[in-house]
């Protein structure tokens, strides 16, 4: 598969405080082509975020392989994974999405510069304005509403046209307007050929992005 995300028999666990091994991801396989969507389902603590971190290359699997756009992420060195993540992966969390001392615009541009790959300021402004943040570009996170903050996070995630957009409950706690804006941005990036990986409990969000559904607990894949 040239573009998309592929998980092959991925396993991941951890050792709890008592020293007992705990399996979080047990032999998950999944294949989503570029432009497609994968919905990760499961209760809180079931391993959705861990799976996303595995795709992002933040964690390494205990077994199995993860490939993004044909690159086996899990085989890369840490610095190469960081660079790959900076270039190819957009990540949106439910909360804690922004760097508190930076303005909305800076939250798009400064991280890019910190990765050594400066982004175009005009593009950043345009994306923020498209997400209805015109007039909020110079505001810091504490001056923005929850919805506005989430839109800034989405803007940052799509800024450099990632191959994969990982979104962890991106519309939770958002008002309708913000939800629409966030979903619109995600749809645009997916329609541009990116793979969308969504972790959500929200049936409306899942309906809005039809695609492959993975039950993280059972490992069952439904198309």
């Amino acid at each position: 598969m040239a573009r998309g995300v592929e998980l092959r028999s991925v396993e991941k666990g951890y050792v709890d405080r008592s020293g007992a091994p705990q399996r979080v991801i047990a032999g998950v396989s999944l294949s989503v082509e570029g432009g497609g969507t994968a919905i990760l389902k499961g209760p809180s603590g079931s391993g959705k975020s861990t799976l996303m971190n595995l795709i992002a290359g933040l964690h390494l699997p205990d077994a199995g392989e993860i490939a993004v756009d044909g690159t086996v992420v899990s085989a890369l060195r840490e610095s190469a994974r960081d660079a790959f993540r900076a270039r190819r992966i957009g990540y949106v969390f439910q909360t804690f999405n922004l760097l508190s001392p930076l303005t909305a615009l800076e939250n798009l541009l400064v991280p890019a510069a910190l990765c050594g790959e400066p982004a175009d300021e005009k593009t950043a402004r345009r994306i923020l304005e498209e997400l209805g943040l015109c007039g909020h570009l110079d505001k810091r996170p504490y001056e923005l509403s929850v919805g506005q903050r989430q839109r800034v996070a989405v803007a940052r995630a799509v800024l450099r046209g990632p191959s994969v957009l990982l979104a962890d409950e991106p519309t939770a706690n958002l008002d309708e307007e913000s939800s629409r804006a966030v979903m619109g941005a995600m749809r645009r990036i997916r329609d541009g050929g990116a793979t969308l990986v969504l972790a959500t409990h929200d049936p409306l969000l899942a309906e809005a992005f039809p695609g492959v559904t993975l039950d993280v607990v059972t490992g069952e894949v439904r198309r």
Partner: protein, 411 residues
């Protein structure tokens, strides 16, 4: 302006985080600054004291004063005019020295009164000429009784000019029994050029005038006391000899003469400098201790702030920002705090010396040079910067080793 390069972005983010916790940052910076300030100020003042003392000992290697007083007291009183005279010696001691072939120059010193907070020193015109600075205005004329030449600081601060008159205060500066001579008026005949030494903060008259004023009062009050220099008495004699061998011989002879003692000013000042050096070491130790406290404070501030922003640092990792880059941000924060503290400390230290220049001159008769760089200051700056580097390195390693990925994976 948006940072375009990684290093600029690191500095921008570090400064923003420091700004976000401005109070803690300022407290840390001030703590460093205070430790540096202390060492800078003490170093500067000590440097000036040593310089003045050494210059004084070079000019007059021998001092003859009353027996019983410590050599330090005699030096402070006669060279710095910063202590009360401890007794008197007969004028014959001075006359004998002027006749001695081993002596190049000898000057009588008779201290008793003050003008405002400045001492009036009875001497002769030769002493004033020997200073080599000449008169800034008027003439160095103190021959006639009542004539006075003012040091440059005295003139500036009392606003007395040539031709003006003033009344001397009976007794030495700050003396409990100081009172104004009702009937003695001095006339300013000249203003001494600036010496940057104790002469700037003294007024000079003839020793004969001191005798006249005090002799008359002593007669009225029934005898000589420590403030009533009777006729034929001096508080000390400053002596320049032809060579150190003569200095040693004359010192011994003066000490063997009943009622007088000789003081090798070079030796006395070396002893004083030794004391000052010990004081410097104590200040350096104290400075090092306060610096260590300040550095520990910065470390605690950094660790607390690291824990408070674990989520944000984890977010950076999820955005593809490398561990080293994140650690660099924390390192820059530590460096900015210590560098700012050092710079502020150096500035405040010099400013403090500049601000207290007159106080120091009045209290110690020493002209400080507020903006010079002393070796003690250099050592303080190097130590503080080294501590800052160490702190930055610790922060770098600490942050680099933090497991931020665990933070990202929390559901």
């Amino acid at each position: 302006m948006m940072p375009r390069t990684r290093s600029l972005a690191v500095v921008t983010v570090a400064l923003r985080y420091l700004g976000e916790r401005a109070f803690a940052t300022w407290v840390s910076v001030l703590a460093i600054a205070l430790s540096v300030l202390l060492v800078v100020a003490v170093g500067n003042i000590n440097f000036a004291v040593k310089k003045t003392a050494v210059e004084g000992s070079i000019r007059y290697p021998l001092l003859v004063g009353p027996e019983g007083a410590s050599s330090a007291q005699l030096v402070f009183s006669t060279i710095f005019h910063a202590d009360k005279p401890t007794g008197t010696i007969p004028f014959e001691a001075y006359e004998k020295l002027t006749r001695d072939r081993r002596v190049i120059a000898a000057y009588p010193i008779a201290m008793a009164d003050s003008v405002g907070s400045y001492p009036i020193v009875g001497t002769d015109t030769g002493f004033l000429r020997d200073l080599g600075v000449g008169a800034a205005s008027g003439a160095l004329d103190i021959e006639a009784v009542g004539n006075a030449v003012l040091g440059s600081e005295v003139a500036a601060r009392t606003e007395l000019r040539v031709g003006d008159t003033f009344r001397g205060t009976h007794g030495m500066v700050g003396g409990e029994d100081a009172d104004e001579h009702a009937e003695v008026t001095y006339r300013v005949t000249g203003i001494l050029g600036r010496t940057d030494g104790p002469e700037d903060t003294a007024a000079y008259t003839s020793y004969a005038a001191v005798w006249k004023i005090h002799g008359e009062e002593a007669e009225k009050e029934g005898g000589e006391d420590k403030y009533h220099l009777g006729k034929g008495r001096l508080t000390a004699v400053l002596v320049r000899t032809a060579n150190p061998v003569f200095t040693a011989a004359l010192e011994r002879e003066a000490t063997m003469t009943p009622g007088t003692q000789g003081v090798d000013t070079g030796r006395a000042i070396r002893r004083m400098v030794d004391y000052l050096n010990k004081g410097e070491r104590a200040v350096e130790l104290f400075g090092a201790f306060t610096l260590a406290v300040a550095v520990a404070m910065i470390l605690v501030t950094l660790v607390m702030s690291l824990n408070a922003r674990r989520k944000e640092l984890a977010l950076m990792r999820s955005l593809g920002i490398g561990r080293f880059t994140i650690a660099s941000i924390i390192m820059v924060e530590a460096l900015v705090m210590t560098l700012s503290g050092v710079c502020l400390g150096v500035l405040l230290g010099h400013f403090a010396v500049w601000w207290s220049e007159n106080l120091i001159k009045d209290a110690m008769g020493v002209a400080v040079e507020p903006w010079i760089w002393t070796s003690m200051e250099g050592m303080a700056v190097v130590t503080a910067l080294a501590a800052g580097q160490l702190l930055a390195l610790v922060s770098l390693v600490w942050t680099y080793r933090m497991n931020l990925v665990e933070e990202v994976s929390r559901d």
